[in-house]
């Protein structure tokens, strides 16, 4: 059974139909990249997976839990699904360490000492040892983004969503963030990424989806999609990027 199963999902903002029947499966330990032009519904799709946006039709199953359910236990869902945003969205009034510790301590009511040890280990893992007591305002974009990844991992999710996490970063710091994600993937974390980093997608992804105007145009293993795309739209998009 796939970890995340998306079936015929439709989503509109008012009259604007953003997703028009999208389906995809993500198996445990798989790394999936979603690529496509701006406005194709990529970000909306992954935001739907952890219930930040609701859907009008279709089904999203995460470990068998239906997301499109009015009685959905959002907290139980979000414990399983971590998300990292383009703009990091750290809590500016808390230090890096406090950002990572906050949710496990305040929400999951886990013992503080235990959480702190885990948080310090996570900060080391994203290569930010020594920055524990620094506030987000004094960190670079790439550093903030890695704190955001550590913050999400502190909840011990089963799947991580990355919503254009390098889009707001300068090329220098993009590398360090991608390296962190790559290590996560290598450890077997299930990852769904919306990205414009084609080189990265090609290298890390097990499966790539190309979306345009709310539908999945085609999908396949990266070597296949990037070299012998069948659809004209995919080819045109890829030729503009490379």
């Amino acid at each position: 059974m796939p970890l995340v199963s998306v079936r015929d999902v439709h989503k509109s903002f008012g009259k604007l139909e953003v997703l028009r029947g999208v389906s995809m499966d993500v198996k445990k330990g798989e790394v999936v990249c979603i690529i496509g032009p701006s406005g194709s519904g990529k970000s909306t799709l992954i935001r739907c997976i952890n219930g930040l946006n609701d859907i009008q039709r279709g089904s999203i199953l995460v470990e068998g839990q239906e997301v499109n359910d009015p009685k959905l236990d959002k907290l139980a869902l979000r414990k399983k699904v971590g998300i990292v945003f383009q703009q990091y969205n750290l809590f500016p009034h808390k230090t890096a360490l406090e950002n990572v510790m906050m949710a496990p301590v305040k929400v999951l009511k886990e013992p503080k000492r235990e959480v702190e040890a885990r948080a310090r280990a996570l900060i080391a893992k994203v290569r930010l040892s020594g920055k524990e007591d620094v506030y987000p305002g004094h960190l670079s974009g790439g550093q903030q983004q890695r704190v955001a990844i550590a913050r999400s991992l502190a909840m011990r999710p089963d799947v991580m969503l990355f919503d254009e996490v390098t889009a707001a970063l300068d090329p220098e710091t993009v590398k360090e963030v991608l390296l962190t994600i790559k290590e996560l993937a290598a450890e077997g974390m299930t990852c769904i990424l919306v990205t414009h980093e084609m080189g990265f997608a090609r290298e890390v992804a097990d499966h790539v989806y190309f979306t345009d105007r709310g539908v999945i145009v085609e999908h396949g293993p990266p070597e296949e999609l990037f070299t012998e795309a069948r659809d004209e739209r995919t080819r045109r998009f890829l030729s503009q990027i490379f």
């Binding site: 979000r78 945003f85 949710a103 305040k106």
Partner: protein, 248 residues
């Protein structure tokens, strides 16, 4: 304290005619100290009431019920758009006329004292501004920051308490300082409903002793000192809470 300064002001009066009677006459001195105490209590309680109203009102304004929001909106319009002097008179003479009298053993006293009416009236006046100040602070917190909290399993109440409110409070502080300073000064209006605060007290002193310029000077300095202390305290708080790496 009194023993220390009394001879100095006694001599000043005898030699120059400058009559700071509150600093050398025991009776007037006690009156003056009571005035300080009442003024400070009035400032403290009306400020606290205005803050409670501000936080609750701003919270209600984020509510879904249009009725609740409308009530808070009406309250703001009513108390922001009328002079505080009229509000005090309205509360004390208008509403005060309908409150029951209590038998104090031979004589009757209104159940709600002039002081209490002043706290209520000024608190409600200041609160109307605080609601707007806190609301603008809440609206200035990026939605994405609250969304990040939600995606980390925070309930909407936890998001409000741990993320939105702490950030909104910081954003609101400069405007809040202005309003609380203004409220502290407005407490002098309680004079018109005979609350024996500083203005009222000194008015009595100068009526009894015909030393208007001297008492005016004291009154003026009293507010300078008190309001400066309040402003300094709030500025210190603002500095302490400033988000590192943002703004200054």
């Amino acid at each position: 304290m009194f023993e220390l300064i009394a001879p100095i002001f006694q001599r000043l009066f005898e030699e120059t005619g400058w009559n700071f009677i509150i600093f050398y006459d025991r009776y007037e001195y006690d009156r003056f100290v009571t005035g300080i105490s009442i003024s400070l209590q009035l400032i403290l309680w009306s400020t606290l009431l205005s803050l409670v109203i501000g936080v609750l009102g701003a919270w209600v304004q984020t509510a879904r019920s249009a009725l609740l929001r409308g009530i808070v909106d009406g309250y703001i319009q009513l108390f922001r758009n009328t002079p505080p002097l009229i509000q005090l008179l309205f509360f004390y003479f208008g509403l005060g006329a309908f409150t029951p009298q209590v038998d104090m053993g031979g004589y009757y006293e209104p159940m709600i004292s002039a002081f209490t009416w002043a706290v209520l009236s000024l608190g409600i006046f200041g609160g109307a501004f605080n609601v707007e100040i806190f609301r603008s602070g809440i609206e200035a917190v990026p939605k994405a920051t609250a969304e990040a909290a939600e995606s980390l399993c925070f309930s909407s109440w936890q998001t409000y308490a741990y993320v939105t409110l702490p950030l909104a409070f910081r954003i609101s502080l400069p405007a809040l300082t202005n309003n609380l300073v203004s409220l502290a000064k407005t407490t002098s209006l309680a004079y018109v409903i005979s609350v024996p605060e500083m203005t009222y007290t000194l008015n009595q002193v100068w009526s009894d002793n015909i030393n208007v310029p001297e008492m005016m000077l004291v009154l003026f300095l009293f507010y300078v000192v008190v309001v400066s202390l309040i402003a300094a305290g709030l500025h210190a708080l603002e500095k302490r809470l400033a988000l590192p790496g943002y703004g200054r």
